[in-house]
């Protein structure tokens, strides 16, 4: 019965990857944010359609590289340019991990404020408005400086340097995890209290809360490396943050053991908007990851069947 359903699925797909290279399960890593669960489940289900055995393994975002290097784990679907680059480069440098290209999603990270702050700080989203109304963002601990809640120190982001370079009267406070980051946003939003913090996308937060990213001078590579470039002639980082792709990586042995699966994963691509809609379904509308992925697959058969076509 099971065999027949595989065959049926295979027939529906235009040119299925029928040749199975190895019957061992391909291990995909799951982390603890919904977007990544969706990306991974989507890839896993598509590979299942192609006849592969799939195993999902829960693993820490950075600690997983130890497993990818040794071949305990095989595929990681979301490594963000912005937060995982260092670990990814180190792993690829050992020769045991390879990049499988971009996921098609672009990570946006920037300072963000809720819409109600535009009244209290006219001129937003232009960053120069922040110069005038740092006090509107202050708390008893930081007054008279404004308070900016940055991401965990491990995310980097150069916010302390940016505040210096752009001469903003803000104090940078680092949250320890992104759960802490969004807990503060939720609380401040409930009270309509001032808040200015680091938000990234694709994520459910920009969909749930009404607000905008601050518009800083556009990012350029020189702005980060060359002090003379940009508004402040004596300091680097006097511009906004770069946007960056989200990468797929795998154990180096993947392409030998399951060559067609490796190709399928390389072909995987999805847009920010499609992902944002699915994340909203899961985190805000209470759908399960499986149901959301199944719905997307039913609606986009031609897209995913092209990934596994030979």
């Amino acid at each position: 019965m099971k065999y027949r359903s595989v065959a049926a699925a295979a027939l529906m797909v235009a040119t299925p990857a029928l040749a199975q290279e190895s019957n061992d399960p391909i291990k995909l890593t799951l982390h603890d944010w919904s977007g990544q669960l969706i990306t991974t489940t989507l890839m896993g289900e598509v590979l299942k359609e192609a006849g592969y055995n799939i195993e999902y393994v829960q693993a820490d975002y950075i600690a997983q590289f130890a497993g990818l290097k040794t071949g305990d784990l095989h595929v990681a679907m979301e490594i963000w340019e912005t937060t995982g680059r260092e670990a990814m480069d180190e792993a690829i440098g050992t020769g045991n991990v390879v990049s499988l290209g971009e996921t098609g999603m672009d990570a946006i990270e920037e300072w963000w404020y809720p819409a109600y702050m535009e009244e209290r700080c006219p001129g937003l989203p232009n960053w120069e408005a922040l110069k005038e109304c740092a006090e509107a963002f202050s708390t008893p601990e930081t007054a008279p400086l404004g308070r900016y809640l940055g991401g965990p120190v491990t995310w980097g982001g150069f916010d302390d340097e940016r505040v210096e370079a752009l001469e903003l009267d803000f104090e940078v406070i680092h949250a320890g995890t992104d759960a802490a980051l969004f807990a503060e946003l939720e609380a401040a939003y409930q009270r309509t209290d001032p808040i200015l913090l680091w938000i990234y996308s694709p994520h459910w937060a920009p969909a749930k809360y009404d607000g905008s990213f601050v518009e800083f001078p556009a990012y350029s590579a020189e702005c980060y490396t060359d002090p003379s470039v940009g508004l402040n002639p004596d300091a680097a980082y006097d511009c906004g943050k770069p946007t960056g792709p989200i990468w797929k990586v795998s154990w180096a042995g993947l392409a030998d053991k399951w060559p067609n699966a490796a190709t399928a994963i390389k072909n995987f691509s999805i847009s920010n908007d499609a992902m944002g809609a699915m994340v909203t379904d899961v985190d805000l509308n209470g759908q399960t990851v499986e149901a959301t992925v199944a719905a997307w697959m039913a609606a986009n058969t031609s897209t995913w069947s092209a990934w596994i076509a030979k």
């Binding site: 065999y3 603890d32 600690a63 497993g67 320890g176 995890t177 939720e186 609380a187």
Partner: protein, 660 residues
């Protein structure tokens, strides 16, 4: 002057005054002398130990070996041995038995149905003691089903069912070895100290590399964390067996092995069960961290729901861990007190009514499950959730009371946290090392003094002085507040048994509830910062302060209280003049445990955003830098060990003075 130093209190006053003076003026001195080394340990003297450790680990993983197989083969072999029974439990409890993978899998047999599992644990409760316990255990497991946590809970239960026996048996054997051979005892003690005090995050990366990714690595980490109390309890329990019993055994012609297994271990069993209980509790404490490296289960539910700010789901999953802890804890305690009963007569059904019921129910539900799916797995439509209630409750508190909280917070920050922080972070490192040495020497002789000074020097020499001082500041403020709240609660619990039951139950819950569950609401109400971290630490570390205070007061000998009454003391005087002084050793032990828990919690609070050693450990984990993680972990452990030795020495002194 000299007499002042020699007198006890004079020494402490002078030491404090000198430290305070130096701390307040260290920055000015550095500016005046232009000697930056006063406040910062010189970079060029720093030991580059983290690189050495990382290199050593790489060597261990990649090239270390015995003749026929490498070290990694050995650890992977161990992993495979652990994995087999773990997978069996998973299949039995939740996944069912099948061959093949994915689409090609064919199921051989489904798992035990939820009804069968609830009935089985209920009957185990009956077997351990009585129907009352059976009802408690049964209700706890029903909670898991009704709140939709069944699947995750069974995954967690499978890992507990593996981790606890390994921890107990391993601890028992290590304890016996230490009891028999003095050298094992001596070698084991520092290792146990480190196992208990080095934060788990610090050795997670090496474990992942050695044991592979997934549940087994998480199990190994759990065992490392949960085993030490079992070893300690075993040593203590064996030593406490009266020597007459051993004599009797020898007279009866027992061999050494027989004395151990037929005399000593049975006689020590009640105390050994305390160790078993500790292993269970600590294993459940590890559920969250284990889920970060692939164990899944309830810990993952907590993390994932808090990640999307679903506070209600986080609380429900957290409480699922608590009810599981309660069920396992009460059942294991009941087993330790269980009396042997005469075997019943008759055929198997009559002589083993409980086991037969288990078999019959499991068999029946197995067959019924094929026709009625609700028998096999709890129907999703019948699960309930309190999620919306919790979200609304937090929102209501947030909107209505935030300003009040903010005002209280500002006062405490200004008058307690910031002054203490300034005091500790201002202490020049050289003086800090000297002071620790002096304190150790004064309290327990030169050995402790030298050890304390060397340990502090290690921290400074690795460039972690500033972060260590932030750790000590946060920890001491939290311990202070926990003690101020905890001891009165403990006294109340001891004086009024009915209130005591509620208070101690609450403490159990606070300790087993994963801290993440309350960290997020705390951040919502108090924002990211030291204050939130402090609240989380206080909540977690409160339990031992309360428990030891209550225990200490109850242990005060009856005749002492009588004597006090005879001499006309009022109840207040009895408490202050008789009970509290006699309970001091217990109070100090409580203080010791509070400090240990506070330190272990600081690593978790790094997730809120503190800038201390905990953060250093966490950064090392996220960067997979095994070396610097271990260095920072050792630094935390050293602070814990110094504080442990000092408080223990004080408790000993007090005990001698009271002639207990």
């Amino acid at each position: 002057m000299l007499r002042l130093i020699k007198s006890g209190s004079g020494f402490w006053v002078l030491l404090f005054a000198a430290t305070w003076g130096l701390s307040a003026s260290s920055f000015a001195i550095y500016k005046a002398l232009d000697a930056r080394w006063i406040i910062r340990f010189p970079k060029k003297w720093e030991l580059q130990l983290d690189g050495v450790i990382s290199d050593f680990l790489t060597w261990l993983v990649e090239s270390a070996g015995f003749h026929f197989f490498s070290f990694k083969d050995l650890t992977r072999g161990i992993a495979a041995v652990i994995e087999a029974p773990y997978q069996f439990f998973r299949n039995l409890l939740i996944e069912g038995f099948s061959t093949g993978f994915g689409e090609t899998a064919t199921q051989l047999s489904p798992s035990l149905s939820w009804i069968a599992i609830v009935v089985c644990v209920t009957l185990v409760g009956r077997f351990a003691r009585d129907w009352k316990l059976a009802a408690l255990v049964g209700v706890c497991f029903l909670y898991l089903a009704i709140f939709g946590r069944w699947q995750s809970a069974m995954i967690t239960l499978s890992s507990i069912l593996i981790a606890v026996p390994i921890g107990v048996v391993g601890g028992l054997f290590l304890g016996i070895a230490a009891y028999r051979f003095q050298w094992v005892n001596l070698a084991l003690r520092p290792i146990l100290d480190l196992m208990q005090t080095v934060p788990v995050f610090a050795y997670l990366v090496p474990i992942l590399i050695l044991f592979g990714f997934g549940p087994v690595a998480a199990l190994v980490a759990t065992v490392i964390y949960a085993m030490p109390p079992m070893v300690r309890v075993t040593i203590m329990a064996l030593q406490a067996v009266p020597s007459e019993l051993q004599e009797a055994g020898r007279m009866a012609g027992c061999t050494r092995r027989q004395i151990m297994w037929k005399v000593l271990v049975p006689a020590a069993t009640p105390t050994l069960m305390v160790g078993v209980n500790q292993v269970i509790m600590l294993s459940l404490n590890m559920v969250i961290i284990a889920s970060m490296i692939g164990a899944g289960g309830l810990g993952f539910d907590v993390l994932a729901s808090l990640r999307r700010l679903d506070i209600g789901a986080g609380i429900e999953a957290g409480l699922a861990i608590v009810v599981m802890a309660i069920a396992l804890d009460r059942a294991s305690q009941a087993f330790s007190e269980r009396k042997y009963q005469a075997a019943r007569r008759g055929n198997f059904l009559q002589s083993h009514p409980l086991s037969s019921t288990m078999f019959i129910v499991s068999g029946l539900t197995l067959i019924l499950g094929f026709f009625v799916p609700a028998v096999q797995s709890y129907p999703e439509s019948l699960t309930i959730t309190t999620g919306p209630f919790w979200a609304a409750a937090v929102k209501w508190v947030n909107i209505n009371f935030f300003d009040t909280f903010e005002a209280i917070k500002v006062v405490i920050l200004q008058w307690l946290l910031l002054p203490v922080k300034r005091f500790f972070t201002g202490i020049p490192w050289a003086w800090g090392i000297l002071t620790m040495g002096l304190i150790g020497w004064r309290v327990d002789g030169w050995k402790l003094g030298v050890m304390a000074a060397l340990m502090m020097a290690f921290i400074a020499a690795n460039g972690l002085w500033a972060k260590a001082m932030v750790t000590i500041y946060l920890c001491s403020v939290s311990v202070f507040i926990a003690t101020v709240i905890g001891i009165p609660l403990g006294i109340w619990a001891a004086e009024k048994p009915r209130a005591g039951k509620i208070i101690l139950g609450l403490m159990d819950t606070l300790q087993t509830l994963p801290s993440f569950v309350y960290l997020i609401p705390v951040i919502m109400l108090f924002r990211v910062g030291d204050f939130s971290a402090m609240i989380a630490v206080v909540l977690y570390a409160l339990a031992p302060a309360v428990r030891y205070a209550a225990h200490g007061l109850r242990e005060v000998p009856e005749q002492m209280v009588e004597a006090g009454l005879m001499s006309g003391c009022t109840p207040g005087q009895i408490l202050r003049r008789v009970k509290l002084p006699l309970a001091t050793p217990h109070l100090l032990l409580g203080l010791n445990q509070t400090t240990m828990l506070a330190l272990s919690m600081l690593v978790i609070t790094a997730l809120v955003g503190t800038r201390d050693l905990g953060q250093e450990v966490y950064i090392a984990l996220t960067k997979a830098n095994a070396g610097s993680g271990i260095i920072a972990g050792l630094s935390v452990a050293f602070i814990a060990i110094i504080s442990d030795r000092i408080v223990n020495a004080l408790a000993d002194k007090q005990r001698k003075r009271l002639d207990l």
